[in-house]
């Protein structure tokens, strides 16, 4: 059994090692055989060779991802509060619609969404990417399930003391929900740091490109230089890797929570 586990581990880690080590290799060493894990002649030229726009791509990715994460935090928690702690007509119907939207692939609604964005005058802006990504049915769902576990009696007591719903939300419910909030934030960071499709549709100016979009430019170049490609891939992987190493628990919890009773 350990043989299988180790073989699979090598198969998983191999391509990632290739990325990491090729980032520091000269082109001729990348295809040398047998392969070296530690480059014989380590170089930083691959990073220097990346197009001058790459620092900007990284900055754009940070900017767009952070904005989306903040907005998703707001929409997920406020939405979840309305669906779990407030009573109103059509609440459950609307919730079912929210949940159903998880199954709608972005590619199937991208055309009218694109037309709406263009009519709002937002085409080719970061605002477009941020706004179309602000709603998260998954986030609302995850937070709602968590909020439901907070006893209503706690909220009632606060209401009797005259606390407003906003106060209850921000000073009782949110502080009690840190774990689920971290999960939602990590999930949305991971998703939008890697998001390619939305950026591809809405961003055309070089100065606005995010990291995945910048990396995709490699495929249309004729002279393939693998070193810089791997360097870029490494740069894009590292932030997610760090968050994963620090908060693996939250990743796993998010995955598992999504699966509870379908």
């Amino acid at each position: 059994m350990y043989v299988i586990l180790l073989l699979a581990a090598v198969a998983v880690i191999g391509p990632l090692l290739v990325v990491a080590s090729s980032s520091f290799k000269r082109q001729d060493e990348i295809f040398s055989y047998p392969m070296t894990i530690i480059p014989r002649i380590p170089v930083l030229s691959n990073f220097a060779q990346l197009s001058a726009h790459f620092p900007l791509y990284i900055w754009n990715s940070i900017k767009v991802t952070t904005s989306i994460v903040v907005l998703q935090f707001v929409t997920a928690t406020t939405g979840a509060y309305a669906f779990s702690k407030l009573v109103w007509r059509f609440r459950d119907t609307l919730f079912i619609l929210y949940i159903a939207s998880i199954m709608v692939p972005i590619q199937s609604i991208i055309i009218p969404q694109f037309i709406i964005v263009r009519n709002l005058g937002l085409y080719n802006t970061h605002t477009a990417v941020v706004l179309v990504s602000a709603f998260t049915a998954f986030g609302v769902f995850l937070c709602r399930q968590y909020f439901l576990t907070i006893p209503d009696s706690l909220l009632e007591a606060a209401r009797i003391d005259g606390a407003s719903e906003y106060r209850i939300f921000s000073q009782i419910v949110l502080p009690l929900s840190i774990p689920v909030i971290v999960t939602v934030i990590i999930f949305s960071f991971r998703y939008f740091w890697n998001d390619f499709f939305t950026a591809l549709i809405y961003l055309t100016s070089v100065s606005l490109k995010t990291l995945p979009l910048g990396m995709a430019d490699f495929v249309s170049q004729y002279n393939i230089e693998y070193g810089p490609q791997m360097a870029a891939a490494l740069i894009s992987i590292i932030p997610v890797l760090i968050v994963f190493l620090v908060g693996q628990r939250y990743f796993v919890e998010g995955v598992v929570a999504s699966g509870i009773k379908g």
């Binding site: 699979a8 290739v18 929210y98 791997m230």
Partner: protein, 299 residues
């Protein structure tokens, strides 16, 4: 007085609901409805367009490009879902017991599923380079023939399926592990008393008790399979990709190219509507059939 209070209450509800509802309505619900509407027009991005009935659907189902993209998508979904879940299940079973470095293996297998498909695509373009890529060199040193991978119509789709399995099996493994943990240990204890072997326990306890998890995994994996785009884009040549010779042009890639490169937006909306309907049918069938094979008996 009562009116005043109920209005105030409604405003409170609205203020909590609005942030998510605006995004949901403007960028999800409205587009879903409009996709269907646009599919009956000849819209091409300009100011004028007119209703053309079901002409888009007629030309789609007469177009070899569309029909072949459906066929390619079907093959991608079937094979990628099958191998992702089969591997996920096997490794979940292995890593559920007392195993050395269990947490390490779990974390490692899960890791690829959170990484950028674009980065992964670039990495595999190198690893699976048909000339002197590391995998082909390894195959040759073992006395086997190198493969053309992404460069042949015979192997390109299989290569993308392989990469998608590599990327995603760990995700479903985590779900299966959670499912395994929720099985009541007393079931196994009483099976032990009855003298049931490992295989018998797997067939009579583990697999039936895992059906809700399996159902969820199949649904999720099928939906994700229909959406595969990034890997196809990055591994087969970007906007001009989907090759060689169209052999990896999945449905969403065809939609993308028709809508945003040829500006046949009405036609692409018809394709998108077909995609929506397909997913609706697939999830409904799965949901209906789960009554037959999913056991929700609480352990």
């Amino acid at each position: 007085m009562a009116d005043h209070r109920s209005i105030k209450k409604a405003l409170v509800v609205a203020s909590f609901l609005l942030p998510s509802f605006v995004g949901f309505f403007v960028f999800v619900l409205l587009p879903v409805v409009s996709t269907i509407g646009l599919s009956f027009t000849n819209y091409s991005g300009g100011r004028t367009f007119r209703l053309i009935g079901i002409a888009n659907y007629l030309s789609a189902f007469r177009s070899t490009a569309f029909l072949s993209s459906l066929w390619i998508t079907a093959r991608f979904v079937v094979f990628s879902v099958f191998f992702q879940l089969a591997l996920a299940f096997v490794f979940a079973i292995m890593l559920n017991g007392k195993v050395l470095a269990r947490t390490f293996f779990r974390g490692l297998y899960f890791l690829p599923s959170i990484l950028s498909s674009i980065a992964i695509g670039l990495a595999f373009a190198l690893v699976l380079n048909p000339g002197e890529g590391p995998v082909n060199m390894l195959l040759k040193s073992l006395g086997m023939a190198g493969q053309p991978w992404l460069t042949s119509t015979k192997t390109a789709l299989g290569t993308i399926i392989f990469v998608s399995v590599w990327q995603s099996f760990g995700y479903y493994m985590v779900l299966f592990l959670a499912g395994l943990q929720s099985i009541n240990p007393s079931l196994y204890e009483s099976a032990d008393l009855d003298g049931a072997g490992l295989f018998r326990k797997l067939l009579s306890i583990t697999i039936p008790m895992l059906t809700p998890t399996t159902f969820f995994c199949v649904t999720t994996a099928v939906i994700k399979g229909f959406q595969v785009f990034d890997l196809v884009y990055i591994m087969t040549g970007g906007q001009q990709g989907g090759g060689p010779d169209g052999s990896t042009t999945v449905l969403v890639f065809d939609i993308y190219r028709n809508a945003f490169m040829s500006f046949r937006m009405g036609y692409a909306s018809a394709e998108a509507t077909v995609l929506l309907l397909l997913l609706l049918v697939v999830t409904t069938i799965q949901y209906r059939s789960q009554r037959g094979w999913v056991s929700y008996d609480a352990a």
